[in-house]
């Protein structure tokens, strides 16, 4: 086509006629418009790149001393003497902490509320409907600030509720008694979690082995024995010293109230957690309800005809099938929850976004910092997607 266009151009003698030929050729017109458009795009791109290079890029400034304190740190003990990288990772851990706890609680709440919404009981289904309609239709930021203000209405620390000395409740935080170890506590919990996962794998392998071969041992008993052995061995190797950790409230010599010990739920963490869980929970409720309703009624009827109880019907027949259409939209909600946690900047919870903004303000270099924040959120989101895709592959597998 192009070559025929060239031939036509050659055969025309005057410039005006040549332009006429080009104007009338459809493919040339398309090509011409796209060519102009790509030139504009290239120009814009080069403009952006050249502007970016006139700013200073690099992460060298993150190695300097941070010089600012953070109100929340978890796992890593952060002090203002650490580098800015230390502050940044404290922020990352705070984001992961609120997202992870939020995802678990929101899933739990969403499944319960989704089932409640389908209940034949008028009160239960209307409570669930009211919860969804009220919280889904108000902005998340407003809810976060609302929860912060609600938690600030707890008694001031001078009038803190102590419940006979086992717990401290004030607007500086809710301190609950826990069992903890003096040292190696978090390491032990980590080992327990890993051994629990290993135990579950061993259990499913043993079940398969039992089906194919002999019926002389109990897989469940063997897995429990394995788990107990790892618990006891690691307990003695790490020298775990378990004791109850009851929070205390004291007044120091200057009249400042000092609270210590126990498990601390600060108003800031609680406010962002409540808001994220309740808000995301409404969407999960609707996903669960919709997925269950999309199943043929015959499934429920068949389960009832077989004489299964309501609990058996839901856990053995309905949910396993509904899970196939629940998981893909559920992944979206998990991603939303993680990304929405960046709104905690409004209420003094130092998540990765807030810490980065502090660093940007102290040291400048906004562009590389923004790239760092974006890649952090991107990695978190991709990790969630990966786990959920693996889970999805497992539940959509038919006939195993």
């Amino acid at each position: 086509m192009i070559s025929s266009l060239f031939k036509q151009l050659k055969s025309e003698t005057t410039t005006r006629k040549k332009i006429e030929v080009l104007k009338n050729d459809k493919s040339f017109r398309k090509f011409f418009i796209q060519f102009i458009f790509s030139i504009f795009m290239l120009f814009f791109l080069f403009y952006l790149i050249s502007r970016a290079f006139s700013l200073e890029l690099g992460f060298g400034h993150l190695s300097s001393r941070a010089g600012f304190g953070l109100s929340h740190s978890f796992i890593i003990e952060y002090t203002s003497n650490d580098s800015r990288w230390g502050a940044y990772f404290t922020g990352v851990i705070n984001t992961i902490r609120v997202s992870l706890v939020g995802i678990f609680l929101a899933t739990f709440l969403g499944v319960i509320m989704g089932l409640a919404r389908l209940s034949k009981n008028f009160l239960i289904s209307k409570i669930s409907a009211g919860y969804v309609e009220f919280l889904r239709n108000t902005p998340l930021l407003v809810q976060i600030i609302f929860w912060q203000l609600v938690l600030l209405q707890l008694p001031q620390i001078s009038n803190a509720l102590t419940f006979g000395g086992v717990s401290v409740w004030s607007n500086r935080g809710i301190l609950l008694p826990i069992i903890s170890s003096v040292e190696n506590g978090s390491l032990w919990v980590l080992i327990l979690l890993i051994s629990l996962i290993v135990t579950l794998f061993i259990r499913s392998y043993l079940h398969k082995y039992k089906e194919e071969n002999v019926k002389i041992f109990s897989p469940n008993l063997l897995s429990i024995i394995f788990f107990l052995i790892t618990v006891i061995v690691s307990y003695f190797i790490l020298g775990i010293d378990l004791r109850s950790d009851v929070p205390t409230l004291e007044i120091n010599e200057y009249g400042t109230y000092i609270q210590s010990g126990g498990f601390v739920l600060t108003p800031e963490f609680s406010a962002i957690l409540f808001a994220l869980v309740l808000y995301t929970g409404t969407f999960i409720t609707e996903i669960v309800r919709g997925s269950i309703q999309s199943l043929p009624v015959g499934q429920t009827e068949a389960a009832q005809a077989l004489g299964l109880s309501t609990y058996q019907r839901i856990t053995l027949v309905i949910l396993p099938q509904a899970l196939r259409s629940i998981i893909p939209p559920l992944t979206n909600q998990y991603l939303n929850l993680t990304k929405n946690s960046s709104l905690s900047v409004a209420i003094a919870y130092p998540d990765v976004f807030m810490v980065s903004r502090t660093i940007m303000n102290n040291a400048g270099h906004a562009l590389p910092m923004l790239f760092l924040i974006l890649s952090t959120y991107l990695s978190l989101s991709l990790l969630i997607s990966l786990i959920m895709n693996l889970l999805n592959r497992r539940v959509t597998r038919i006939g195993t």
Partner: protein, 354 residues
């Protein structure tokens, strides 16, 4: 199908256009970039000064009910515009957050930044700014509730302190509490911070003393709150330009000094015209850019009108008038403070116009 020759033509023309674009852009960038640029000439060409300001700090930079910017810092933007362009109204204000201000200056979005910005070594050198003479000497303070019984920072061991995020205040607070146990509660904006302070979530509220004074005056019973006497830090606030932009830097610097000198010499917006037509001494004549006793006016070579200070004083006023207009209503008295004239024991001092 494209034959080989057509393909080659298309690819070559694409490459050529890329080259042309890159060359154009590179040229444009070099003319815009920081080193060796002349923003003063750009402002004169454009006929307007682009000034980065605060739009949410009563007294310093705020949008009033009529939608106009007003405040102490805003008046210095006007003064620079009056000096360069002869008209205090030829200013475009760009409201900036604390975290965006330096990038905006570095990226040529604004010509000068006058946004209650503290002069520090890292901001001066590392961020590529040049600070002119401070226009206001502030200091960080701590406000506590009167009922708490705190009388000094030393007594605040173990306390929780509310502070605004991303400011020098946050860093000064940490320096001051070195070796002491404390929890900083860092808020992005003032409103939730104030709620947390009032509900007793934190024991103290720290920010610049000027800010604390205006917030304390806004409480229903100001006497319930005490601003501790100790000053945690030095906070000299002033205008800044980009590094290596000395033509504009010198103009801004000497407009500030000129307004201070005018106050010292007793030149105000109301008497500047009569003073200019009949200067009482050679020093005043040099400041106003007029000849003394029939002589020639002295030109300091700023590259703008020799009588630029006349425009500044007649349209904006001298330093004392600007202070009186915006900061005295906040309760920030000048007597005995660092912002008094040097003859009264303060730090407001202008080098000689000579």
């Amino acid at each position: 199908m494209l034959n080989f020759r057509t393909k080659t033509i298309v690819i070559l023309s694409l490459l050529f256009s890329m080259f042309v674009i890159f060359a154009c852009t590179a040229e444009e960038t070099s003319s815009n970039s920081g080193s060796g640029s002349n923003t003063l000439a750009t402002i004169i060409d454009r006929g307007e000064l682009v000034c980065g300001v605060n739009d949410n700090l009563t007294g310093f930079g705020v949008v009033n009910s009529a939608g106009q910017f007003e405040g102490f810092d805003i008046d210095f933007c006007k003064a620079v515009a009056a000096a360069i362009l002869g008209d205090a109204g030829k200013v475009e204000y760009v409201p900036l957050t604390a975290s965006a201000r330096f990038e905006a200056l570095a990226a040529n979005e604004i010509d000068i930044l006058i946004r209650n910005t503290t002069w520090t070594a890292s901001r001066d050198r590392d961020l590529g700014n040049d600070f002119t003479a401070p226009t206001f000497y502030d200091g960080q303070g701590m406000m506590v509730k009167a009922s708490s019984g705190y009388d000094s920072i030393e007594a605040m061991e173990g306390a929780t302190v509310c502070v605004l995020q991303g400011t020098t205040t946050e860093l000064n607070l940490d320096d001051r509490f070195t070796g002491m146990d404390y929890t900083p509660l860092t808020f992005e904006t003032n409103d939730p911070l104030q709620a947390a302070y009032e509900e007793g979530r934190c024991d103290g509220w720290t920010t610049d003393k000027s800010g604390l004074a205006s917030k304390r005056a806004g409480f229903s019973t100001p006497s319930d709150h005490v601003v501790l006497a100790e000053t945690l830090s030095k906070e000299p606030l002033g205008p800044l330009t980009r590094d290596n932009d000395s033509e504009l830097y010198d103009v801004v610097q000497w407009v500030v000094f000129g307004m201070m000198q005018a106050e010292e010499s007793g030149i105000t917006s109301s008497n500047v015209t009569s003073m200019a037509s009949n200067p009482s001494d050679p020093g005043m004549a040099r400041l106003l850019g007029v000849g003394f006793d029939g002589g020639e006016p002295s030109d300091f070579g700023f590259g703008i009108d020799v009588n630029f200070m006349q425009n500044v004083i007649s349209q904006v006023g001298n330093y004392g008038e600007v202070y009186e207009r915006h900061l005295v209503p906040l309760g920030l008295t000048r007597e005995g403070s660092l912002n008094a004239q040097w003859t009264d024991g303060g730090l407001i001092y202008a080098p000689p116009f000579r």
